[in-house]
Symmetry: C2
Subunit: 329 residues, 2 copies
């Protein structure tokens, strides 16, 4: 199996991405296709890596977060992202992972790769680490102003992915809303609720954002505006509280000792909520496997992202989505 | 000044509400008008409280969260909430505070009290305790499917309230959105941004939900669906993390000692994020002061809520909003 690794455009730089790939190679079997400055990458690889166990797409242009996404995809033909996506499109590899610009990757997946039939828009997915279980959430920011059809497509695609990721026969699907009762919400969530009830999925009703880290759903569907707001609140509040905690621990000798005694316990909490466990998530709806890693991914996140992508490819989730969506015509 | 205290319908019960009122009486001057079962309340009052320093609205019916809001307001004529709102409407008191059903209080404020001219819908407001400063957020759940006019009205009303609450001449107003740059968001936030730019307020642009506890805005405006989602994520994530922390501390002798040493520091964090500091917030747009306290408010929250309400009444925020909205015809 060949996995394209987009080495440019992440916050932590090319080295961290390469390091993560090498970590993944220790645990799973695949051929990395590094897209980026070939010489630079080659220098980072160990000598014992044989010539035929690695490929390169020599690309020296970078798409950054400041670039206008669709424009960057059209104009930066020599970027690691565009060259990687073209390589994937042409059938030379089985999937691609990138920690670069989310907007550009989405635009690229649509413009270069194309969408699965009957999927109107690809969705940005994330796996939220929770207290009891982990939850796939989509859309978390690709599609503003969704309609009910899109929400339904997210539900079907999320269900297909959850089957593989969580190894469950009939994953539970919830709708992000402002109340748990039927009839709550804005006009979109009210009609989405009605539609999801009738869909051939295990729909368990509404879920409130207060339960986002502690719930029973395998998949939470939302329009991209709402999903993004909630995802970013979770990230922001966690970071604020943990940094307040750190500040408190460092404030005196007494608290430093207390902090030292609590350290393993605190690491446990951080571990429970560690986004790196699921280092990347698919753009669901794309015709080929494209995974987006968080911009600030470190090597562990990249390693885990690659592993989940391989699972995704081996289970042929895209084929299952394609089959399911065929019935939605 | 007379303040109506709705004693029924809160999670912690009548005693906690009365206790909070008595705490407020120790700090500020007002005549409480207790709406609820008179005999029960009387038994909770100290003997030294003179007859003419307290009033009662003898009401024995309770509106609960399970009641359909508008229906409850129409049918439960003898409820503490409806009788309280009628008393306020008739000019017998200066304001009312309730920790009962949010939906019913909103419906009651509209159906019984009425709205300020040119305000299309009253908004549910909350003061979010932040790291740097506190922020008024509205709407946090009263109005689903808002249009830009409503968002503009929220901004004007929020600005008037922030002037008083934060004692600032020109409070800063931000728009809740999925990105900070102009042009980000869904169709509502995109057009709201354009409109707020031209409004006679100190509009500082978009704010992302990740910065909700750590930002420079005095007021954040949002449609009720988005505001509610973000508010509940903040509450939920804070509670999840703090309960994980508590669990960790209790897990061994070592961590218990660590926890004891850190206790003052941890209380500091809880204090910083304590919703009780601003125990209640106004339904902005109502023609008379109506404050909503959190359903689970304890006596401290009620005390602080009453104090902020008195500040709100003394500064005649409603008159200022009325004047401002006159220009919006």
């Amino acid at each position: 199996m060949k996995i394209i690794i987009d080495t440019l455009g992440s916050d932590k730089g090319l080295e961290e991405i390469v390091k993560g790939t090498l970590l993944a190679l220790e645990e799973v079997d695949f051929i990395p296709v590094f897209s980026g400055p070939k010489d630079l990458i080659k220098n980072l690889l160990p000598d014992n890596l044989s010539e035929d166990s690695v490929e390169f797409i020599d690309a020296n242009e970078k798409i950054s977060n400041d670039d206008q996404p669709a424009l960057a995809i059209r104009r930066k033909k020599n970027s690691s992202m565009v060259m990687g996506l073209r390589y994937l499109k042409n059938g030379n590899a089985d999937g691609m992972i990138s920690a670069g610009s989310t907007g550009a990757l989405l635009a690229g997946a649509t413009l270069i790769i194309g969408r699965i039939k009957n999927v109107d828009r690809a969705a940005l997915t994330i796996v939220v680490p929770g207290v009891k279980n982990h939850t796939i959430m989509l859309d978390v920011g690709a599609n503003m102003d969704c309609n009910v059809d899109l929400i339904k497509q997210f539900a079907v695609m999320g269900s297909c992915y959850a089957k593989i990721l969580f190894e469950k026969a009939d994953p539970s699907i919830a709708l992000l809303n402002i109340g748990t009762e039927e009839g709550k919400g804005n006009s979109l969530t009210k009609s989405a609720y009605e539609m999801l009830k009738d869909e051939d999925i295990n729909f368990i009703g509404n879920i409130e954002s207060r339960d986002i880290l502690d719930n029973d759903a395998d998949v939470i569907v939302a329009d991209g505006f709402a999903g993004n707001l909630v995802l970013k609140s979770v990230e922001g509040v966690s970071m604020t509280i943990l940094s307040l905690l750190k500040e408190s621990v460092m404030s005196s000798l007494r608290t430093k000792i207390g902090g030292a005694l609590l350290k393993p316990a605190l690491s446990g909490i951080k571990g429970k909520l560690d986004y790196r466990e699921h280092g990347a998530a698919p753009l669901l709806g794309s015709q080929k496997p494209v995974f987006k890693a968080h911009g600030s991914s470190d090597s562990i996140a990249i390693k885990n992202g690659i592993k989940e992508m391989i699972k995704f490819i081996e289970a042929d989730v895209i084929n299952e989505i394609t089959e399911k969506m065929r019935g939605e015509e």
